[in-house]
């Protein structure tokens, strides 16, 4: 049915967003600071996990926005504001990254000059893996993301009042420029912040591996918010079962994509059996890490695959809400699995510490608070977008 009688009334987000966000932020912050005093190295690694998680959600959301523009998709227009709000985390990365840059000595083996001097391989990698170039890269990448965040969202916001269609074509051009830059920067980000934790190891597919998780995290975050807001009446009647089905199908596709990439990386290394590559997996097979490695397959692939397989499941709001929380956890778990075994005292196996539980609280706090802060000032629906009508009338 055509909903030509489109009337949008701005409503404040549910109070829960700000209340929970603030509470999580406060508790998380206090505990995180305490953690830093107890065990600085462990806190640093944990903080890196949630930093990468926030990068995933923020950058992944910006990618989803750009994808909508270049692909000419209209089904995602009605809720495009949600990824725009999540992408609002990108400027905050400038602040969030500072502690990590200061703690480089705890995180990165290659940041120890005396260790590099005794190591032929690290010496060879030093022209790339050195602190000043690393810092420059990190900041330049964030600057690129911030630039495109502002370009894309400013136009989108302006359109709400001006209804100017040329803004859409401008955004298409910006998006087309952004996507290759995104591919390059996300690859180097994955190499810099995840792969270089084990500076002797290398895997050419690693950037794609992180990308697959990134899209899952961003999609899951957007799905979760859209379904929650739809249930509270914010998106009625504009988001239909057909939209939900598309969320489910996309999540399902990227769950498969992640498994495909993860397995490709594993199988080539397993098959070639070269010691300079296998040790990375062997570390993750050491002691209790083996449980994490096996659980990763179940959490990140088997369960979401089974839960999203059937057609009705893909558009069931309850199922979608559950699975998007599940997948957010799965990506966090994936990052944990990528990052934590690189910590020297954990090389022989995982040992539990309360610090590991603290940082996700902080992460949720940061994401919710920023989301709420930006969403407060904006329309929940891009009312001036020329594609909106088609997006609302979207049918499979």
């Amino acid at each position: 049915m055509h909903q030509t009688d489109f009337k949008y009334q701005r409503k404040d987000l549910p109070a829960g967003f700000s209340k929970f966000g603030f509470a999580f932020l406060l508790i998380g912050l206090i505990l995180a600071v305490a953690a830093f005093f107890v065990d600085q190295s462990r806190a640093a690694f944990n903080y890196l996990v949630i930093y990468m998680m926030i990068v995933s959600i923020a950058l992944g959301s910006l990618f989803l926005i750009a994808l909508e523009y270049v692909a000419g998709a209209d089904w995602s227009t009605p809720f495009r504001r949600i990824p725009e709000f999540f992408a609002g985390l990108i400027p905050v990365l400038f602040v969030l990254v500072i502690p990590l840059l200061l703690l480089n000595h705890d995180l990165f083996h290659w940041a120890h000059e005396e260790a590099v001097k005794q190591d032929k391989i690290l010496e060879g990698k030093a022209p790339y893996l050195n602190l000043s170039f690393f810092v420059i890269r990190t900041l330049v990448f964030i600057a690129i993301w911030v630039l495109f965040y502002f370009l894309l969202t400013r136009n989108s916001r302006k359109q709400d009042t001006t209804k100017d269609q040329t803004l859409t074509s401008k955004n298409i051009r910006f998006s087309a420029a952004f996507i290759p830059l995104f591919a390059i920067t996300i690859t180097f980000t994955a190499v810099d912040w995840l792969m270089s934790l084990e500076p002797h190891w290398f895997s050419t597919i690693f950037g794609v591996y992180y990308f697959s998780g990134t899209v899952i995290a961003a999609l899951a975050a957007v799905t979760l918010v859209v379904v929650v807001l739809k249930e509270k009446g914010y998106f009625n009647p504009w988001i239909t079962d057909d939209h939900l089905y598309s969320f489910g199908a996309l999540l399902f596709a990227f769950v498969n994509f992640w498994a495909y990439i993860a397995f490709s990386q594993f199988m080539l290394i397993w098959y070639a059996d070269l010691p300079e590559e296998t040790f990375w997996y062997l570390t993750r097979w050491e002691g209790s890490w083996v449980i994490f490695s096996l659980l990763l397959i179940v959490i990140h692939f088997v369960v979401p695959y089974a839960m999203l397989l059937s057609q009705p499941a893909k558009m069931n709001p309850k199922r979608l809400k559950f699975i998007s929380i599940w997948l957010l956890f799965a990506h966090l778990f994936d990052l944990f699995w990528l990052i934590m075994p690189n910590m020297q005292p954990l090389k022989k196996g995982y040992v539990f510490s309360w610090i590991d539980l603290v940082f996700p609280i902080l992460g949720i706090g940061i994401v919710l608070t920023i989301f709420n802060f930006i969403a407060k000032k904006e329309n929940l629906i891009p009312v001036g977008d020329p594609k909106l009508k088609r997006g609302i009338n979207f049918h499979l």
Partner: protein
């Protein structure tokens, strides 16, 4: 002849109209109806209130069957029936099996889906559906959209259906009848012959063009190597021989030189280093029967099986042969004697000594003393002296 009505069809110009028409038809309570369009119309299944397709179950069942079959095949061939070590991996190397399992899963699932869709849902092969060859079908497969309400519907009433369809403002209405003259059964000889001819011609042409006309080796790295096969001439070496003799003094792996090679009646021979154990004698028997018995006979009597194609050798039970030292027999096998050739290149050193030991057994058996018999009787519990 009495025409039998199949249904009444209405044609529309736009997808929006057909969605509205489908909705109205459902609302009017008709169940036996169908909608036709030249391309998939978004939202039509919801308008028609179609239940989710059951096709997915076929896909699921056959996909799982594919995974199971592929895994079982690889498990059986690679781990049970013909275990081979590949790249130092375990016989059941699951990661290496996953790509194949995945492919077979997808293959079986898609094939089953397509075949299931065509047979169960499109009821293929249905050669004489009344809608075939109608003006209506020509239009809806080009640029029109249509809905047909079938006469077999519970609520079908010709005038009411006409009235109802007209109320949707179609561009035309058409009555569709069952074809009156002939039907086209699937197993009609002409049709079957036609299918067979098509199958033969296409497979023949495909075979001929791919294997004869256009045959190209997919890659030739293994077939065409810059190397010489045995006995081939060489342009590189001055003497033109492709096969080279090893460098002077080259020794093959495990080679132990035999010092009396070429001597006809050596004054000195080797000592037998092997004890005639059970295994040693078994080996000796096997090798004797393989290499020596054609000329010397199964028991060394010199009764050749060669029927005069080669001179018969003397018996190995002559006193001369019995008085040979072990080393002398070894010498004869290794070096040959007169017209008997050397067996040094066919039979290994250990096997030669085993044959020597076995010949000793044969000789002793043919010339057994009574004390030997007593020992044998004691061991076997026989009373052979009677």
């Amino acid at each position: 002849m009495n025409k039998r009505l199949f249904g009444i069809a209405a044609l529309f110009k736009t997808p929006d109209e057909i969605i509205r028409a489908a909705k109205k038809t459902v609302e009017a309570g008709y169940q036996k109806y169908d909608v036709h369009s030249p391309y998939p119309v978004h939202g039509i299944d919801r308008a028609m209130k179609l239940k989710p397709s059951k096709l997915g179950f076929i896909t699921l069942v056959f996909g799982l069957t594919g995974s199971a079959l592929a895994l079982l095949l690889m498990y059986w061939t690679m781990s049970v029936d013909y275990p081979m070590i590949i790249g130092g991996k375990p016989f059941f190397a699951l990661p290496a099996f996953i790509p194949v399992t995945f492919e077979v899963t997808v293959l079986l699932a898609t094939l089953a889906t397509v075949i299931g869709m065509i047979t169960f849902f499109f009821r293929f092969p249905e050669n004489d559906h009344p809608l075939h060859d109608t003006e209506y079908m020509k239009k809806v497969s080009r640029d029109h959209f249509g809905v047909v309400i079938e006469a077999s519907d519970k609520h079908f009433d010709e005038s009411k259906v006409r009235e109802f369809l007209s109320s949707l403002h179609p561009i035309s209405l058409e009555e569709i009848y069952y074809s009156e003259k002939e039907t086209y059964p699937v197993l009609e000889p002409k049709f079957v012959t036609f299918l067979v001819v098509v199958a033969l011609v296409t497979s023949g042409v495909t075979y001929f063009s791919l294997n004869k006309l256009l045959y190209m080796q997919p890659f030739t790295w293994m077939m065409e190597q810059p190397k010489l096969n045995p006995q081939q001439p060489s342009t590189l070496f001055a003497d033109g021989f492709g096969m080279r003799t090893p460098v002077q003094g080259t020794v093959a792996r495990g080679f132990i030189p035999y010092p009396y090679m070429g001597q006809n009646n050596p004054t000195e021979v080797l000592q037998n280093p092997f004890l005639p154990t059970k295994e040693n004698l078994k080996l000796g028997e096997a090798k004797y029967l393989t290499f020596c018995s054609p000329c010397h006979g199964n028991f060394g009597d010199g009764d050749s099986r060669l029927r005069g194609q080669f001179p018969n050798p003397p018996s190995l039970h002559s006193s001369r042969a019995r008085e040979f030292s072990d080393g002398m027999i070894y010498h004869i096998i290794t070096n040959g004697q007169n017209i008997m050739p050397s067996y040094a290149s066919q039979i290994t050193r250990e096997e030669r000594w085993a044959i020597v030991n076995y010949i000793r057994v044969l000789q002793r058996a043919k010339n057994a003393k009574s004390s030997d018999l007593q020992v044998v009787n004691k061991e076997t519990g026989n009373n052979a002296s009677n």
